[in-house]
Amino acid sequence: MTDHRALDAAPDGSEAADFALAEAEAELAADLEAIAPRTPRPVPGTSRHRLRPVLGFLTILAAILVVWEGAKLLGGDRLALDGILGLPIRIDHRPPFQWKIANDLSLPHLWTVFNAFFVQDAVGDTLAVRLLWAAFATFRGALVGFALGAGIGLLLAIVLIQVRLLERSLVPLLVASQTVPIVAIAPVIVVGLKAGWFGIALVAGYLTFFPVTIAATRGMRSADPRAFELLRSYAASNRDVLLRLRLPAAAPYLFTAFKIAATASVVGAIVGELPSGTREGLGGAILNAMQYYSIQPGRLWATIIVASLLGIGCFVLVVLAERRALRHYRPDDLGVAA
């Protein structure tokens, strides 16, 4: 550091020495202060930091379940049980109210949903196993759709940024594309193209690209205007500006969009499966469970739970990728240090 030099250079005992000393100390203090408190970001490995969100999630989940059964207790159907888990306990509860939303058909008991996972089909597979395979099939469509959508979305954004004239003409079309109901467009893509599971991926991609395009366009413009001037002063090419400034500056924005896109791609894949005739994925499982709803309502709920778990899983994957990709960014990200 410069501080020692300043001290050595100043003649002993003079005012200049005092001044230089004060100056050096101030600089050193300022430097240390600047480095010290900002360096440690919450270390992901620490157990407390890891556990806290999990605990929070479990608490909210428990609250939902309590409300669920509480509603049934107050306004559900009559509950008559003879023996719980082999214990000689008798329950005959008649709820004080009769709410349609809380009857056994609309809102089956939690244990009915739980038990549905273990109902065996003709071949002897439990519903849990079949839903697991269905989730894999849907994940494949969602993943390919996400990759397609993210890729196309990013490319579109790059085109929009490079050719400003296109923005006014293209963006309304993109917005319009998202106002078309996906259930209406899905049969056109899936049945019309006859592309099998790839058609399903296309529907997933259709729901994915839009948030990516919007966020990427915004992110690529987010950098400090002086950063662009800096690159201009180096006579940097368009490619350099894109790769060394626009894309890195857009990265935090992109990951926000990827999180939305990840869950949207699961929804897209399921909606794509519905008209496809395939019984492989969760879409097929949902159609199937719907047919049995009046006799086995727990089955549809079990399928819904697996579908949302898949969505959460995809979201978590993006969060993990984000942590890795943005590990060098300032914790309270601002794009370019100003």
């Binding site: 430097d31 600047a34 690159l231 060394r244 300032r330 240090a337």
Partner: protein
């Protein structure tokens, strides 16, 4: 840009700065700049009018003037970051645009403008990457430049882990990485506190003396302009004109004691009076107060 040109500044020993030669690096002739209004009903703003200025090799020229006098615009015109409406800007005998394509400039802004996703070293390597230097050469050069600004031990830090003064030193290292002919600095220390600023002034003088780079420096601080420069160009506002050029004949090398010389105070007074005259008798009271505030 040749290899020799890149490695030149750090290798060149001290004397270049002291012996400012007569080779013109920047030649401005009759430069005017009018900003056309962007909204209906607004009038065009005459930012610069009839600017003639020659900057010789190795000079340290400060542009000083009240806010809105066009000093930043003038700097940006020299660096081809903005166009001029009239007149010509010649740099090393070429149009400014050509000089920019030849990478004759190093830019330092008021904010450091470092890329947060890059380490300090990678930030300094940025211009070298753009001109396609191999990784090893980039690393060596970055190390050299960071040692020059005495941040060698912070190479692998992230910019946001450094103080404002340190960040600005990284920006200077980056600006020097290509060994530019001219360093263009737009109020580089304006956002720093007084203590850090004086320290940075000393650092900058030392770097200038070592590299012999021509510096054009925009500031609104009179003491800073006098302390650093070989010449102070005083400008007035609306339209931005050059009202005075003060030769600073303070001896080199300058240090903390330079600020206590009789001659230093005379020159500070001289620049202050030039600024006041530039305001003109017709100017309003607020402008007057602002100029006083700056000189305090």
């Amino acid at each position: 840009m040749t290899d020799a040109a890149i490695s030149a500044p750090a290798a060149t020993p001290a004397p270049a700065a002291v012996s400012a030669t007569t080779v013109p690096v920047v030649q401005l002739t009759g430069v005017s700049k009018v900003f056309q209004p962007t909204s209906q009903g607004a009038r065009p703003v005459e930012a610069l009018k009839g600017i003639d200025l020659t900057v010789r090799r190795g000079e340290f020229v400060s542009l000083i003037g009240p806010s809105g006098c066009g000093k930043s615009t003038l700097l940006r015109a020299i660096g081809d970051l903005t166009s001029v409406t009239e007149g010509s800007v010649a740099v090393n005998g070429k149009p400014a645009a050509q000089a920019r394509r030849d990478r004759d400039y190093g830019m330092v802004f008021q904010a450091p403008v470092l890329f947060e996703w890059r380490s300090v070293q990678e930030n300094v390597e940025l211009p070298l990457e753009i001109i396609g230097r191999p990784p090893h050469e980039r690393a060596v050069r970055a190390r050299e430049m960071l040692d020059l600004v005495e941040l060698g031990e912070f190479m692998s830090h992230r910019p946001w882990q450094l103080s404002g003064g340190m960040q600005q030193r990284v920006a200077i290292a980056r600006a020097l990485a290509l060994g530019p002919d001219i360093l263009l600095m737009d109020e580089p220390f304006g956002a720093l506190d007084e203590m850090t600023r004086e320290r940075m002034n000393l650092e900058l003088l030392r770097i200038w003396e070592r590299t012999g780079t021509t510096v054009i420096f925009v500031t609104h601080s009179i003491p800073e302009a006098v302390f650093l420069s070989t010449r102070v160009v005083v400008m007035s506002a609306r339209p931005g004109r050059i009202t005075d050029v003060v030769d600073v004949d303070l001896p080199h090398s300058r240090d903390v004691e330079t600020r206590e010389l009789e001659r230093y105070f005379e020159l500070v007074t001289r620049v202050r009076e030039s600024l006041r005259r530039g305001e003109g008798p017709s100017s309003g009271g607020t402008a007057r107060v602002r100029a006083e505030g700056l000189s305090a």
